[in-house]
């Protein structure tokens, strides 16, 4: 079996990967397969991320995983110039956006290697990047790019 290729530019991202927990493992396994999953409450039908053992909306502990296309729009964004962490240095200036998912939740997500300026309201779509042998990270790009 061939290992997926890992680009050198992602070499320093490993130390940013949070500890694996029972809660985040399914999300990370899905991402590693190239899929984005969200939690959905079986009681009130709301979607949530990050994962918890209960629903933030109604308190129900009956939650299921749903595959999401991850589509949404930019609610706000910044373009980071300060080298806060070595992992992001090759991408400076890079964009971090608050993504309003069509399913309801908002996410914070990096948008790397953009070739055009983005604006609030722009439609975006996930771009899942392989960063280690077993881990991938969620980034976003403009729809249709």
């Amino acid at each position: 079996m061939n290992e997926p290729a890992i680009a050198d530019k992602f070499a320093a991202f490993e130390e940013l990967i949070p500890p694996l927990t029972d809660l985040n493992a399914p999300y990370r396994e899905a991402l590693s397969r190239g899929e984005l999953i969200l939690q959905r409450c079986k009681s009130c039908s709301s979607y949530q991320y990050p994962f918890e053992s209960f629903c933030y909306e109604c308190g129900s502990t009956e939650l299921e995983h749903k595959i999401s296309l991850g589509q949404g729009s930019i609610y706000s964004f910044v373009k980071v110039h300060q080298p806060y962490h070595s992992a992001f240095k090759p991408f400076i200036p890079y964009t971090v956006a608050t993504i309003q998912l069509d399913e309801g939740p908002r996410l914070l997500c990096a948008m790397l290697e953009l070739t055009t300026e983005v604006e609030i309201g722009d439609r975006v779509t996930p771009r899942i990047e392989r960063i280690t042998a077993s881990e991938s990270m969620l980034t976003y790009e403009l729809e249709g790019s």
Partner: protein, 382 residues
């Protein structure tokens, strides 16, 4: 405050030098500030029966109130450390008043001191757990996200943000203890480097060592002391609480509800306020605060600053000692100290003429917490 048995006052204020204080520990910053405030009030450490503190930002020590009490060689009846970030500066006053109302204490010191400039400041830009891979580190990027949304909704411009930084620097220029006193222009601002667009370096408060403190007691006790008592007329708080990017509205803060609560408890209105000391960790915050308090309409904070109506001598002077942006990046304790000095008429060449009512606005996190306080000298200058 209308709901209380008696009136409460701030009777002493003190602070250390601001900027770089090598060799001065966190605890020393607290002790030096409290001792200066006691001296100002004509009291000694033995007169204190309460010590309340806000935890240092750079580290989060346990049992911090008792440690500071020990460093003052006292065993007080009341101690507490509150975890509301910047809003704690007012939350602790509310705690002090509650303790005095309940008969547990009479004279309480409130302090903050930290040395992130010469000590450690790793906590200032730590990755945010599951969000670390999003590339958002440090407070500037998060507040910049708020600013970008405000610009989108209301047309706020970088020139307007520049004018917030310039207004507060103009006041710091008259404050010999300010960390940054040198004046700058909109052009200087525009050529300062980007940190996280839409923020440049001059949109951000500095990292500073320093300590500040104030002493709270009853009106009755205050009248025995040497300084002109400054009355706590009203307090309000409100906490937007959620992680900033998940809040329904991003270009707002807790100021609207906290302000209404403070004005109602004081029986005052925004038109009664002579000056404001507003938490200004980043330029967008005072602009949003003025809007939420109702001093200007929503979206007009930027033009209010651009028209220089917040300068000393203007219609509503703001951050008369330079605020977090220029006096010291300390998280807000200095704003209470400056409001008291203004109301006692000790503002020297930056004194707001005939100041009778001042508003202090505090917040913490990424506009996660909020507290508002109205102070007055009860019209002593009339």
């Amino acid at each position: 405050m209308k709901s209380l048995k008696q009136k409460y006052c701030i009777v002493g204020v003190g602070n250390t030098a601001y900027g770089k204080n090598p060799g001065i520990s966190q605890i020393a910053h607290n002790v030096l500030a409290i001792r200066a405030a006691l001296e100002d009030a004509g009291l000694s450490a033995q007169d204190l029966d309460g010590v309340l503190t806000k935890a240092p930002t750079s580290t989060f020590p346990m049992l911090w109130g008792p440690k500071i009490a020990e460093a003052l060689r006292i065993q007080p009846k009341v101690t507490a450390t509150l975890d509301q970030a910047g809003a704690s500066n007012i939350g602790l006053i509310q705690y002090a008043i509650s303790a005095i109302e309940m008969g547990q204490a009479e004279v309480i010191a409130i302090s903050y001191g930290d040395n992130p400039r010469t000590g450690t400041r790793a906590s200032y830009a730590r990755p945010r757990g599951d969000d670390a891979l999003a590339g958002l580190f440090g407070a500037p990027s998060s507040y910049a996200m708020v600013a970008k949304r405000h610009m989108h909704e209301y047309g706020t411009t970088n020139e307007q943000l520049a004018n917030v930084a310039i207004a507060h620097r103009t006041h710091a220029n008259m404050n010999p203890n300010a960390q940054f006193q040198e004046l700058f222009t909109v052009d200087d601002y525009m050529s300062s480097r980007w940190v996280a667009e839409p923020f440049r370096l001059l949109d951000c408060c500095p990292v500073s060592d320093g300590g500040a403190a104030y002493i709270i007691t009853t009106e009755e006790k205050a009248k025995e002391l040497r300084a002109l008592p400054v009355y706590i007329e009203g307090i309000g708080q409100a906490h937007p609480s959620w992680d900033f990017y998940r809040r329904p509205e991003l270009a707002t803060s807790g100021a609207k509800i906290a302000g209404k609560m403070a004005f109602e408890s004081a029986g005052l209105q925004p038109t009664d306020v002579d000056f404001c000391e507003i938490y200004d960790c980043f330029t967008i915050v005072p602009l949003i605060s003025l809007e939420e308090y109702g001093f200007v309409n929503k979206g007009e904070g930027g033009s209010f600053y651009e028209e220089q109506r917040t300068h000393i001598g203007g219609e509503l002077p703001c951050n008369t000692s330079g605020g977090l942006l220029s006096e010291t990046g300390m998280p807000g304790t200095q704003l209470v100290v400056e409001a008291v000095r203004q109301l006692r008429g000790e503002g020297e060449n930056r004194q707001v003429k005939d100041a009778e009512v001042g508003l202090v606005s505090q917040q913490g996190g990424i506009m996660t917490t909020h507290a508002t306080m109205l102070l007055s000298n009860q019209g002593v200058h009339q």
